[in-house]
Each structure stands twice: as structure tokens, then as C-alpha cells.
């Protein structure tokens, strides 16, 4: 059997890589992709805990399902915003859309 630490470590690494992408990328769509990586890392942790430690209640599986659903909704909505931004400004670079930053 695979030890649970393997999955948790992989989830942490995936989350870290996603965070790196969010912090260092400038294109809005690439930031969205990095957010997907972070969510995948969190889902791995949820499912590992559910199927290893919480086999009676398995709430982690249901949480992972909700994470996937909310991520799909988020991508749809965020791409709508990016599309709108591109129509108004001809750019998808987040540095050029910092009007609301204080």
C-alpha cells in the first residue's frame, strides 16, 4: 500500500507550484491556470484524508466534488471578465488593469 505521506507531499508541492504561478505570472489566463493547480493540490489532500483516515464518513470526497464544481464556475466567470477586459482595453495583462488598486 502507498503511505499517505506520499500523497500529502505531492499535494503540498502542487499547491506550492500553483502559488508560484499566481505570484509570478502577468497574463490573467495564466494566473487562472495556476489557480487550477492550487485547487488540484488541495483536492488531492482532501481525497487522501477521506480515503485513508475517514473511511466511514468520507466527507473529504464530497468536499473535493464541491471544489471541482466551484472551480468550474470560477473559470467560466473569470474568463467572462477577462474577455470583457480584452474588449475594453485590448489586453489581458493584469498589470494594465490595476485601476482599483489603492
Amino acid at each position: 500500500m502507498i503511505p499517505i505521506e506520499y500523497f500529502l507531499t505531492l499535494g503540498a508541492i502542487l499547491f506550492g507550484l500553483g502559488l508560484f504561478g499566481v505570484l509570478s505570472r502577468r497574463s490573467a489566463i495564466l494566473i487562472l491556470m495556476a489557480v487550477e493547480l492550487m485547487l488540484a493540490g488541495v483536492s488531492i489532500n482532501f481525497i487522501a484524508f477521506a480515503s485513508y483516515l475517514d473511511t466511514d464518513a468520507f466527507s473529504g470526497l464530497i468536499f473535493a466534488l464541491f471544489v471541482i464544481t466551484v472551480a468550474a464556475a470560477e473559470v467560466g466567470l473569470a474568463l467572462g471578465i477577462v474577455l470583457r477586459l480584452f474588449r475594453e482595453r485590448r489586453t489581458s495583462n493584469v498589470d494594465e488593469a490595476s485601476d482599483m488598486r489603492w
Binding site: 506520499y6 502542487l14 506550492g16 502559488l19 505570484l23 473511511t55 495583462n93
Partner: protein, 210 residues
């Protein structure tokens, strides 16, 4: 370096060179892993885990580091399919199916459509100082903390269990009925919001003559 590979121009050199590199690394690695399994050092599920983990981590690295935006999207697809394989190893077939359907199909397709519609170029050239050193420092601190903590924990020696589809559905639609409804409303609001957001942008275009 990839520019010197003698290939016809219509091939994408990054994709072909990347495929050759992955093959050149992957075949010896696969031989090593199979040998380790044959000598009983690691078990067969662990071998599958290592293969999936390598695909996931390389894909994630490609997704955050490749400058070309379409290559990054393809790397993201590889990562998400690898994550589905990990879900299978965690004995949750249903979530692996959902992962392939929703992410491998829907989300990546949506991202690629977004790329085409915004005519997005590659990641913008940074002129005001790269954030990569800062991001790398922060991420390495955070991930180092995570891994140190989880390796120092005492997890016992648990084994993964299969959750039957019937039990999963029963619990999902009985005890989590209210969150399901909330998520349904959320999806409705998200779709409506995206439509309204994109649609109003066309209002100021000149109307077609009748």
C-alpha cells in the same frame, strides 16, 4: 538549442523537442522503476504513483514556467490527467471520472477558447522587475513548512478504502442536500453573470440595419 533540431518548419519545435526529451528521460526511468518492482523494493501501486507524480510535477512546472501560453495550457492538461490517475490510486473512481470529464474536457477547452478569443500573446514581458525570486522564496518557505510538518506527524499506518458509489450518492444527496442546492444556485449565478458580463459589451456596437 531546440532551433537546431533539423525539422520541417510546420512542426512546433517546443512540442516535438519536449516529447523527445520526455521520452529520453522517461524510458530509462521506466526501466529503473520496473526493475525496482521486479526486485521487490517498491510495490506495483507505488510504481504507478511515482509515474503519475512525475507527470503531475513536470506538467505543473511546465504550466508555471513555459513562456508560450498554449504550451502552458497543454502542460496543465497533462497535470490534470495525472491528478485523475492519483484519484484512482486513492480508490475514488467517481472523482477520477469527474476530474477527466470536467477538467480534461471542460475547463481546458474553456481556457483554450479564452486564449483564442482574447488573442492572448505569451506571458507579457516584465519591465518593472520580475517577481520570480520573491515568489520562489515565499513558496519554498511555505512548502518546506508543509512538508516538514506532515512528515513529522504520526499518521499510523492507514490503508485506503473503496467508497461504493451507492453509499457516496446516498450521503451526498441526503446529508449534503442543502450544500448541493447552494452549489446549484452558485452555478446558475455564475453562468448568468458570465453571460451578462460578456453580452453587455456588445451593446455599444452599431446595430445591424434591418
Amino acid at each position: 538549442m531546440l532551433k537546431r533540431i533539423p525539422l520541417p518548419d510546420q512542426f512546433d519545435r517546443i512540442i516535438i523537442g519536449g516529447g523527445i526529451t520526455v521520452g529520453a528521460i522517461g524510458v530509462p526511468l521506466g526501466i529503473v522503476l520496473v526493475t525496482l518492482v521486479a526486485f521487490g523494493v517498491i510495490s506495483a501501486p507505488e510504481m504507478v504513483f511515482f509515474v503519475a507524480a512525475i507527470i503531475v510535477i513536470l506538467g505543473a512546472l511546465g504550466c508555471v514556467l513555459l513562456p508560450n501560453i498554449v504550451h502552458a495550457a497543454l502542460s496543465l492538461t497533462a497535470t490534470l490527467i495525472g491528478v485523475a490517475a492519483l484519484y484512482l490510486l486513492l480508490m475514488s473512481e467517481f472523482l477520477a471520472l469527474v476530474q477527466v470529464l470536467v477538467y480534461g474536457g471542460g475547463v481546458v477547452l474553456l481556457l483554450l477558447f479564452g486564449l483564442m478569443m482574447t488573442n492572448a500573446q505569451d506571458d507579457p514581458v516584465v519591465t518593472d522587475g520580475s517577481q520570480k525570486p520573491f515568489a520562489f522564496l515565499l513558496v519554498s518557505l511555505l512548502v518546506g513548512t508543509f512538508i516538514t510538518l506532515l512528515l513529522s506527524g504520526d499518521w499510523g499506518n492507514p490503508t485506503a478504502h473503496v467508497v461504493p458509489f451507492e453509499l457516496f450518492g446516498e450521503r451526498l444527496f441526503r446529508e449534503f442536500a442543502l450544500p448541493i442546492i447552494v452549489v446549484a444556485v452558485l452555478l446558475d449565478v455564475a453562468i448568468t453573470g458570465a453571460l451578462v458580463n460578456v453580452h453587455t459589451a456588445t451593446d455599444d456596437l452599431p446595430e445591424e440595419s434591418e
